[in-house]
């Protein structure tokens, strides 16, 4: 359906794509303090664009020293019109060519109709799609709803600022409807709406043995090697059925009813196909008794995200290392309490730890619980209609494996909330050769325009 706003978007598509690439070129890596200035530079870019298209814009930094939150507002629909709040994040994961990239991660490269770059799919496609949808409306027919764009700069690194902002100044972002625009749809041509998100708990585990690295000849055999000790602990965190072996871990997990299992089964085959394309390990693995969709979206996990100890450079350094370290994350489902899970995991690891080493924890983050949204409210219904018109196909309903920590906080603003993703799983978010199809960017803009035009009438 071609409205004047959609015509404008079509005419401006080359410039929109240029702007998208401009933002991608800024390596706004929030997990590494060395890139703090780049995150700020990306925030400045967004503020400048918001002001140009007619929004009032500001940066919010709280507590001091964190990455800025960008808030853009347009109240031209009047006091009686409803307000839509749209959340996206403009920060990205680290990336270097050595990770296995075929092209420079921060130099967008177009191949086969896709833009390859870190942040292309996670999540600058969303930031720019909404900016350009709003521009298209304001430059033509105007918007029937008031708009607040809230773009976060530390989604990949804990999100302290937005949490503090929502907790301390929620009145500044009151809204009738909330859109969290992040994440993927089922496939490039098959939109889907995620109504369930896993929560997440992260922590670092440190196993200390001797006070410093020792000669492995002189001390090997009389000191419990911390690398060995940490593997002994990790090997006991799962049972032989692929289930997490931490006592109490599954206590509060919401059981799936038959109706929902049937809904999830609808897209299980598509998920398996994609899994074979993207992951393709030698064999399947996972918790016995659950299909792939359920393992990803409806069952909690415990993963080791990083593990290191000793010397791993070229050649050998024959040491008995002083310490070994692991980064662990748990993906949670409804109704697991993150703080309780973090405690259970830590307690269990301490019980597993042999007396010949000492175990400690750091950076324990328990801020993101799992979420299941109400599919009957207007936000999700409007999103379904917008996808159908903007993307050209009815969306599927899914539970996703990833976590969007902000969902929990946004539910405090309004529970009339929908998640709208424009990227796809082949986009390899967080991995090398991240990419987004140009068509997804264009569909995203069109879908976003439809949503803003229609949300008030759904």
């Amino acid at each position: 359906m071609m409205t004047t706003a959609h015509k404008y978007a079509a005419e401006q598509s080359a410039r929109f794509q240029e702007q998208f690439c401009d933002l991608i070129r800024i390596p706004s890596i929030s997990t590494d303090p060395a890139f703090a200035e780049k995150v700020k530079q990306a925030a400045d870019w967004i503020v400048a664009d918001m002001e140009k298209i007619g929004l009032s814009a500001e940066q919010i930094t709280m507590p001091e020293g964190r990455h800025p939150l960008v808030l853009g507002q347009w109240n031209g629909a009047g006091d009686d019109a409803p307000t839509v709040l749209i959340y996206c994040h403009y920060d990205v994961q680290p990336a270097v060519v050595a990770d296995g990239w075929d092209t420079e991660p921060f130099e967008p490269t177009i191949k086969d109709g896709k833009i390859y770059a870190r942040g292309a799919t996670d999540s600058k496609v969303h930031v720019v799609s909404w900016l350009k949808a709003v521009e298209s409306l304001l430059a033509t027919e105007g918007s029937p709803v008031n708009i607040k764009l809230l773009f976060e700069g530390e989604e990949e690194s804990g999100g302290d600022t937005i949490k503090a902002f929502v907790a301390q100044q929620p009145e500044r972002i009151t809204a009738d409807t909330v859109v969290i625009s992040d994440g993927v749809i089922r496939d490039i041509d098959q939109p889907s709406i995620t109504y369930g998100l896993r929560g997440i708990v992260t922590m670092e585990v440190h196993v200390q043995g001797p006070q410093s690295d020792l000669h492995s000849g002189h001390f090997g055999g009389v000191v419990h090697n911390p690398v060995q000790a940490i593997t002994e602990i990790i090997a006991q965190l799962h049972d032989e059925n692929g289930a997490v072996a931490v006592p109490g871990f599954y206590d509060n997990v919401a059981i799936l009813d038959d109706e929902e299992r049937a809904l999830l089964a609808e897209s299980n085959m598509l998920m398996e196909e994609e899994w074979r394309k993207v992951a393709n390990p030698p064999a399947k693995w996972g918790e016995h008794g659950y299909n792939m969709h359920e393992r990803i979206g409806a069952r909690p996990t415990l993963e080791i995200n990083g593990l290191y100890g000793g010397y791993t450079g070229e050649g050998f350094k024959t040491v008995l290392p002083a310490s070994a370290h692991a980064k662990i994350s748990c993906r949670l489902v409804a109704n697991q309490d993150p703080a309780r899970i973090a405690q259970l995991v830590q307690d269990h690891i301490q019980i597993l730890a042999p007396q010949s080493v000492t175990v400690s924890f750091s950076n324990v983050d328990v801020n993101a619980a799992a979420v299941v949204l109400d599919r009957e409210k207007s936000a999700i219904k409007a999103a379904a209609s917008a996808y159908e018109k903007g993307w050209g196909k009815k969306p599927l309903f899914e539970r996703a494996g990833g976590s969007v920590p902000i969902t929990y906080d946004m539910l405090k603003i309004s529970d009339n909330l929908t998640i709208m993703g424009f990227s796809y799983k082949g986009g390899t978010a967080h991995g090398p050769n991240e990419n987004i199809p140009i068509s997804s960017f264009q569909n995203g803009i069109n879908t976003a325009i439809h949503f803003l035009q229609d949300v008030n009438n759904t």
Partner: protein, 467 residues
């Protein structure tokens, strides 16, 4: 008349300044980035030997680090010949490892020289260089011929010297070989090592998904290679601390009652152990004493492991692969190749079908036992008694010196492991150091050794070199 020991005492400062110059060269043989530095150390040594009046040369075998060879044959054809072995390469070291001073800027603090290589092995082999200099420059004669063979790959498999001994061993013909690359527990009680463990090095890679995956989107559906690696490593040991690889202990020579009694004479109690390691609780094979575990029992250690993201912050991925570096210490009569086959078979057996595990055998060397009843050993005992000031005791050590087995078997040489280091010198770890007092006592002991060897009767040679 100036004796050699007087000369050495008068030139103590100069000797240490020269050692500092050698220690400043980061001749790390395990990391190819340092290849020019390894060569620079070799050239420094050739130049140094030539300045002392020795014939010296670099011996470079295709694709390997040069051997430094030097000889003094001025004692004549009828005199004994001593072969001195050492190594000028060192282990890696960076400040981030926990050094208090720059590892390649030697400093002297509280009577110790701090630098990578100070005790392993630049400071130790250099004592023999300075002993030869002291004898040559003093009014005493150097009563034996001396050959030096100093290698640059001891920390990385010793390939060049193994090949050289195999192909051109006659160049190293001698009556006895002396090696200073070992250590003692206390300065008052010198030690001669009569057993060295062998070694075998491996790299393992565990591969899972074809690329790093988002742990939210795929976590729970692929066997995480880090978890799989942990599960494999865990199955390399039994709960009692013994190695769980079938066949690993097959060829191990059990300790005799005499062996155990001899080792019990130098006890290593839990208090000393705790002070040296700082670890909370001793670990290992319960039916063996601490001393036996490091000297007479084989081990399997993970010397390094890495996978996934471990920079600042978090990266929520399931990584595509994980690696581990494995170092086995072997005892008599274990064969490295046989151990490699056993480990490979075990890993293939325990690796789950959800990942691919590959093991690469990097290098290996068998263990060494030394005959303690020879006249040359008596010469070494006398040298410690006069040069160090105390009679040595015999101990089996945990470390490995790959070429020693080759000197014994290929060249038929009796080998004397005349170490001048301390167990607490921090070799391979941060803040490696060498006691200045022990450096100078080592030089005196080395001088005495050369003189004592000259006094060994000619008839001794027929029966030496046999195990």
């Amino acid at each position: 008349m100036t004796t050699a020991k007087t000369y050495a005492a008068e030139h103590a400062e100069q000797f240490r300044a020269e050692l500092h110059a050698l220690l400043k060269i980061p001749s790390i043989s395990t990391d190819p980035h340092y290849a020019p530095e390894v060569k620079r150390a070799a050239e420094w040594l050739v130049d140094h030997f030539q300045k002392l009046g020795l014939e010296a040369e670099l011996i470079t075998l295709e694709g390997q680090y040069p051997l430094v060879y030097a000889e003094y044959m001025g004692a004549g054809e009828d005199a004994k010949t001593v072969l001195v072995y050492g190594h000028y390469d060192v282990q890696p070291a960076t400040m981030e490892d926990g050094w208090d001073t720059a590892p390649f800027e030697p400093v002297e603090i509280d009577g110790k020289i701090y630098a990578r290589g100070a005790t392993d092995d630049k400071g130790q082999f250099f004592t023999h260089v300075k002993a030869v200099e002291a004898l040559l420059k003093s009014d005493e004669p150097l009563p034996v011929n001396v050959k030096f063979i100093i290698e640059g790959e001891e920390e990385s498999g010793s390939r060049a010297i193994k090949q050289f001994v195999e192909e051109q061993g006659e160049k190293l013909a001698a009556d006895v070989c002396v090696v200073s690359d070992t250590s003692m527990a206390k300065i008052e009680q010198p030690v001669i090592i009569n057993g060295l463990r062998g070694g075998a090095l491996f790299e393992m890679i565990v591969r899972g998904p074809s690329q790093d995956l988002h742990s939210g989107m795929y976590g729970g559906t692929v066997h995480n290679p880090l978890q799989a690696l942990a599960e494999i490593i865990t199955q390399l040991h039994n709960p009692d601390g013994s190695i769980a690889v079938p066949g690993f202990y097959d060829d191990v020579v059990e300790l005799s009652k005499e062996d155990r009694e001899a080792m019990a004479k130098i006890p290593w109690d839990n208090i000393d152990w705790a002070e040296e390691t700082g670890a909370p609780l001793a670990w290992g094979e319960a039916e063996y004493s601490l001393r036996e575990r490091v000297g007479a029992r084989p081990t399997l250690e993970i010397t390094g492991m890495a996978g996934g993201y471990f920079g600042d912050g978090f990266k929520n991925i399931v990584p595509a692969q994980a690696i581990a570096k494995i170092s086995c210490r072997l005892v008599a009569n274990q064969e490295p190749e046989k151990i490699a086959s056993a480990l490979l078979a075990h890993i293939q057996n325990i690796a789950p079908p959800t990942i691919q595990a590959d093991l690469r055998f990097v290098s290996g060397a068998p263990a060494v036992l030394v005959n303690t009843d020879s006249l040359y050993m008596q010469a070494a005992i006398n040298a410690y008694t006069d040069g160090w000031g105390a009679a040595p005791v015999f101990i089996r050590e945990g470390g490995s010196i790959p070429i020693v087995a080759g000197f014994q078997s290929k060249l038929g040489l009796p080998v004397i492991l005349m170490g001048f280091g301390l167990n607490t010198d921090g070799l391979h770890g941060p803040n490696e150091h060498f006691s200045i007092e022990m450096f100078h006592k080592g030089i005196d002991t080395a001088i005495h050794f050369l003189q004592e060897v000259a006094a060994v009767p000619a008839s001794a040679d027929a029966t030496e070199g046999e195990e």
